[in-house]
Amino acid sequence: MLSTVADSLYWLGRYLERVENYARFIDVNFNLSLDLPPDVQEQWMPLIATTGDIESYHKKNNNFDRQNAMYFLAFDEENSNSIISCIKASREIARTVRGSLNKEIWEKLNETYYFVLKGKKQKIWTREDPREFFKQVKLDIQLLYGISEDSISRGQGWYFSKLGQYIERADKTSRILDVKYHLLLPSLDDVGSPIDYLQWTALLKSVTGFELYCREYGTIEISGVVEFLTLNKQFPRSILFSLKEAQKCLSVVSGTTDGGYSNKAEKELGSLVSDLQYADVSEIIKSGLHEYIDGIQIKLVQISDEVYDHFFKIKPNFIEQKTQEQ
């Protein structure tokens, strides 16, 4: 597979996961805002903090008004991580790698693109209830996954895009946990108050983990939520689960069959996974969740860079040309 195509597919995986996450985050946060008592402000700031784009948000806005926030996250084309930008980027990628996808996927993605464009035209963010739109985006992405599952051959391309998807997922889960935890911490005193309950519930819902969590842990408690989102082995959006899946993909594309590693990316990812496998939630909280998550994120960036170096980087044939001339 062409290095540039593999690179594109990896990013396709990441962008689609990002779109779905954003759509879910916005939907859940809107839902939460409906339940808040009148004196409590809507919580759009933490959401924007989660995306890591708060600085560029501040450059355009001086408040965390719902409409501004929603516009920024979903429809702002100057925000390269917004839903509309990611859908656009996915579509451009899909155009360039049509050979690795198929007609159905391309047409569905293209349709989703036009749907989001239409949403912007209709100014969805000004609606009294915009949830229908975000639900549809989520469903569209899920449908895309469904189509791929049964129609894409399990060659290198598949594993590169899944690798992107799982790395993105681990990143987003870690970020939302970090931000919410940080924000909810001052209210630890009134653990058990209705607002607190709502907030933690919203966090779990934004990673579609509420029901699973309740079944496994019963009551909402901080260490339970942290453990569930970072270390749980069965929950498909926990950091550990996502990274284990990413590890499987990486070993397929690296051709490593007997365990161990054959490149730096594999080595880094493997050691991160085993750290998580042997971690204990009480130790994590004691030593500081924020620092712990920060460490994970730094490693994720490193892994992503090393995947690039090993698989995607191409020889710049133009530099070669200059040296020949000299």
Binding site: L2, A6, R95, E107, F312
Partner: protein
């Protein structure tokens, strides 16, 4: 929906012999349309636009800063060509392509035809598209032009003429294929009952032709595109996809020891045949334009050494230069000893004093073209433009005569076309596609371009043109 009232005066209409009388090969189609309500027909027309967007059949318009994507409007009334007319086109094109290929081989290898003074040597050597680095080269299997899209027009009497030989990177074949898919949905029964010849095997024929250019049993074929911002990108990815080959850009390729490789996740993989959709001069900054970022350094040398086949070969542009065009009938005679089966449009070469004088005196009746321009740019249609524009072109011609040719204004044939809520005649041209591998193969279909503006003769997509599906019948 009724076709009448329908006016055919002074023109050749493909469907109607006169205002009332339908040509026999369109009879079944006419019946079908007349059975449909106006509303149903308009619905069918509307759904084609939607279908085109859904499959991403869009192109970017140069100079449009917003980067807006456009579709080439498809009119659902097809252009139908009967078997008898097609036979002439088929033979005529095969003859022409064979002669032009021999011409290219000759001018880059000794230039016998130039020495025999059939074509002025200076005309060929001074052409912007004559590539000196190609001299002495015989490309694989002796083929220079592999993929051709010749533009034909039909005059008021119904005669076909060749308007342009497109021997470089003719585009539009994806429209021929996708237009057919869309029309199959609109008129599912009609195609088989009318006996329309299929075009859907084009990608396989193309792949076979490309593979033929290599001596390997299983050569690696790629499509080389300038990238996603090129207006024909949809077509590049479409063809790669349909052939099941890799689509590459210049940066994916690298030349080592005069062999071409693509850079994959598992290292380098050798490439044997390149269907390149990138202009000659951008292909290799080491041989041609130094500032090109689109190509691959060293590609030309690899080609010259015979280590990779390029389709089309570099240097073919000289044979479809608008000034060389005027000599094609003589070129055919010279190499094949035959008279051309499809005629040329009479052409005045402003480089020749006598012709220049005629052009300057009769500019109001002529179409003037720059010899090296394409896409309907740099063109003057005498009868449709003002005196001051005539004067402007007269000056241009006088200051650089060899840059211009002129032709009489042809009244292009018309085909009924949906316009708002009625049916009206619009002018069309015809671009059939030809592949030249082991032998010449004319694909039984074409892209019919249509000038959607009433009375307009400019069919180019960049200037308000649309397209039609072209139905070539068995009989």
């Amino acid at each position: 929906m009724k076709f009448q009232p329908y006016v055919t005066e002074h023109i050749y209409d493909e469907m109607f012999e006169s205002n009332e009388k339908c040509r026999s090969h369109y009879a079944m189609f006419k019946e079908k349309i007349e059975d449909l309500s106006t509303r149903k027909l308009m619905q069918l027309q509307h759904s084609t636009d939607k279908a085109q967007r859904a499959i991403g059949m869009t192109f970017n318009v140069y100079h449009d800063k917003k980067g807006k994507e456009k579709i080439l409007p498809l009119d659902i009334i097809p252009r139908v060509i009967n078997g008898k007319d097609w036979e002439v086109i088929e033979k005529g094109l095969a003859q022409r392509i064979e002669a032009l290929n021999l011409f290219l081989q000759d001018i880059y290898n000794g230039g016998k035809i130039l020495k025999d003074k059939i074509v002025p040597e200076e005309l060929v050597l001074s052409s912007q598209d004559y590539l000196d680095p190609c001299s002495g080269i015989t490309p694989p299997k002796g083929r220079w032009c592999h993929i051709i899209g010749t533009d034909l027009v039909r005059d008021g009497k119904g005669h076909f003429y060749v308007l342009e030989d497109n021997l470089r990177c003719p585009s539009g074949v994806s429209y021929m294929l996708e237009n057919r898919e869309i029309l199959k949905r609109a008129f599912p029964q009609l195609l088989s009952s009318m006996g329309v010849r299929p075009v859907s095997d084009y990608p396989i024929k193309l792949l076979n032709m490309l593979q033929y250019m290599s001596d390997k049993a299983k050569p690696t074929v790629v499509v080389l595109t300038p990238g996603v911002f090129n207006s024909a990108y949809f077509e590049h990815s479409y063809l790669a996809n349909e052939m099941g080959v890799t689509l590459v850009t210049g940066q994916d390729l690298i030349v080592e020891n005069d062999f071409v490789f693509m850079q994959t996740t598992k290292g380098l993989k050798q490439v044997d045949v390149i269907y390149r959709r990138i202009d000659d001069k951008f292909m290799d900054p080491m041989t041609f334009r130094k500032d090109s970022l689109l190509g691959t350094p060293g590609l030309f040398r690899a080609f010259k050494k015979g280590n990779v086949a390029l389709a089309n070969a570099p240097g073919t542009g000289v044979a479809d230069d608008k000034a060389v065009y005027a000599y094609v009938p003589r070129i055919i005679k010279y190499y094949l000893g035959e008279d051309p089966i499809i005629e040329n449009v009479p052409t005045y070469l402003c480089r020749e004093e006598k012709d220049k004088k005629y052009v300057l005196e009769n500019i109001g009746n002529l179409v003037v073209k720059e010899t090296n321009a394409a896409g309907g740019y740099g063109m003057l249609i005498g009868p449709k433009t003002t005196k001051s524009e005539h004067e402007k072109f007269k000056k241009l011609i006088s200051s650089n005569p060899s840059n211009y040719i002129a032709q009489p204004t042809l009244s292009l044939s018309t085909v009924p076309t949906i316009s708002k809520s009625k049916i009206d005649g619009r002018h069309v041209d015809l671009r059939p596609y030809v592949l030249y591998g082991e032998k010449v193969e004319v694909i039984p279909g074409a892209l019919t371009r249509v000038a959607l503006k009433k009375g307009s003769l400019v069919v180019n997509s960049s200037q308000g043109g649309g397209s039609k599906d072209t139905w070539v019948l068995y009989n």
